[in-house]
Amino acid sequence: MADLKLENLSKRFSRKVWGVKKMDLSVKDKEFLVLLGPSGCGKTTTLRLIAGLEEATTGNILIDGVDITDTPPRKRDISMVFQSYAVWPHMTVYDNIAFALRFKHLSKAEIDSIVTETADMVKIDNLVKRYPDQLSGGQRQRVALARALAVKPKIFLMDEPLSNLDAKLRVVMRTELRAIHQQTKATTVFVTHDQSEAMSMADRIVIMKDGVIVQIGSPDDVYFKSTNVFVAGFIGMPPTNFFTVEIIHEGTDIVLKHPFFELKLDNERKSMLYDYSKRSLTFGIRPEDITITSEKNNLLKERALVVEPQGSLQIIALKIDDKIVKLVSAREHTVFPGDMLFLTFKQNKLHFFDIDTGERIGDL
């Protein structure tokens, strides 16, 4: 059980290519932290830096206040689950799990009890005598997990461990990983590019882009208070819809003018724009915050282009100003492609962003 601290951590691959750039991050004891971002954003590099598989260019890594920046991986008291599982094919499941324990000079009985215990925990106790090529992908994943759990590390690192599993198994493993975390209470750093995975598992999410942290926060924070256009667009499925609008002052009123609609803001929204002096802005609205309404108080109308039924919900795609806009609605009345829809936005769910920098305007 330990906390982890990254101070001004950088990894430079070549003159122009930075893996991670001046990163400051602290992971609390027993926390389940998720590093989230598109591929190439530096999240895996960060994890490998923590593991010691990459050498930091500058900065420090501290576990429990002890600087381990130059410590070899085996002495860092960490363990890792790899994306490709990295289960050793020439060893049985038992030997895979016991590998690290044998270096700790434990007695045979101790090793045996730890292996049995961890194999039990990840439900592979009946497979310990097999070789990895006799296992399915999901079972190998569990072996990798057991191997990492067996050493009882201070920090538990996971590099997209679920991305090679099929969709159904992935959801099952999410729950199991969370359950195991609650049981072991090991500080965990989990890397993924799947935002729904991050949302469902994390205590806190760190969103990265181009080697830099964009936002750190709880799943709700990053979802409801996205710090910029990138985060708002990355988090959520389907992603946030963005509209670029002109700001028109009509007396005391503020109207957002779009070629297809004009949105008159309420007082609270207006106050958010007090300090904003530019002539236009980008606003985002989540698919579930666009509502289908009656003809008389609609903001805009458009024909449905594509409808994806999702059981109790439906995702409706339509084209506004040549951009695909998606909205989610309940299946109270099923929409068919080509139906005319009357839409309105929930004003209190609007997210305003700077037209140039993409940064959030105003605080909720």
Binding site: L53, P73, R74, S79, M80, A86, P89, H90
Partner: protein, 354 residues
Amino acid sequence: MKKELQRNLVRTARTTTLYILVAGVAMVILFPIYFLVTMSLMSDFEMYNEWPLPMLPSFSMSFKLQNSQKGYLLSIYNKVDNTYLDMLDTNDTGYIINFVKRKTNCTLTREKLNEIIEELKNNSKVEFKLRKNFLLNYTLFFRLKKDAWPAFLRSIYTAVVTILISLSIGGMGGYAFSRYFFKGKNFLKLGVLFVRMFPAVATAIPAAIILGNMGLYDKPIGLAFIYSIGSIGLTIWITASIFLSIPVELEEAAQIFGTSKAGAFWHVTLPLALPGLAACAMYAFIGSWNEYAQAIILTQFNPTFPVVVFEYVLGATGMAHLATAGGMTLAIPAVIFYLFIRRYILRMWGGVRV
């Protein structure tokens, strides 16, 4: 129904043609080996007096001894022509014993000959059968070529050292080529192959001068160095692709779970690369064991075994059965090595399944 029959016929014809082709190819490959083995077990008589050459060496020979004007007439049964060939007419019994041994690889004891001569007093001829000493060619080969046995040992020593050098250096090179990026990597990798483009005989002359300066001329260790040059290149290419097929994550996982970088190599990469290394060992062994062109130039008084066999084959007019025995002796260690290493190559040849 008719169509089905037709389809079956075509299929049968096709597979039959294929099998005949495969069998033909196998025959072409196996026939010389078969002849080498059988000839090395044949006696002088079978080799030169029976024509066409018998397919199988015989286990025993039939003789006929008659009284003659000079003394005794010895005839040997020719199983191809189905007749007795008159071979020797002499009264020197010692010479008869010697002749039987040399000509047919059979041992005729003095007592047995005396018995036969005793019998001859009552009969005009005596027919008798003797068991052939199957491996006499081999013992004879080593007895006739006094330097064959030391050369054999030198050859084994050379081969082992060649394997050790080329596996350690070539393996490390292959590992470096597969795991690290550095300037001129491809150039170097091709350069390693480039070395092999020069005929061994041509490079042997400068090699002889260099070895002479190093004091390693005419020594097995010097020969092993020269052989290693060729096999290191091959080892690098084979092991580089083997190591490439072993995911780096496996090593990284080992590093995280308690070993150093070297430990990860030892515990994870090496066992997984074993089939490839075994194949390399085999190539290195064959390259060293069968080589004589360089060995002739690079040795003088301490030749390797192939050189001895080569000399014997060249100078073996009328002694092909002994030469083939030498050839077999050259082949046997290679076969034994192959049998030993076979299970490692078969285990996972062609990469690692993860």
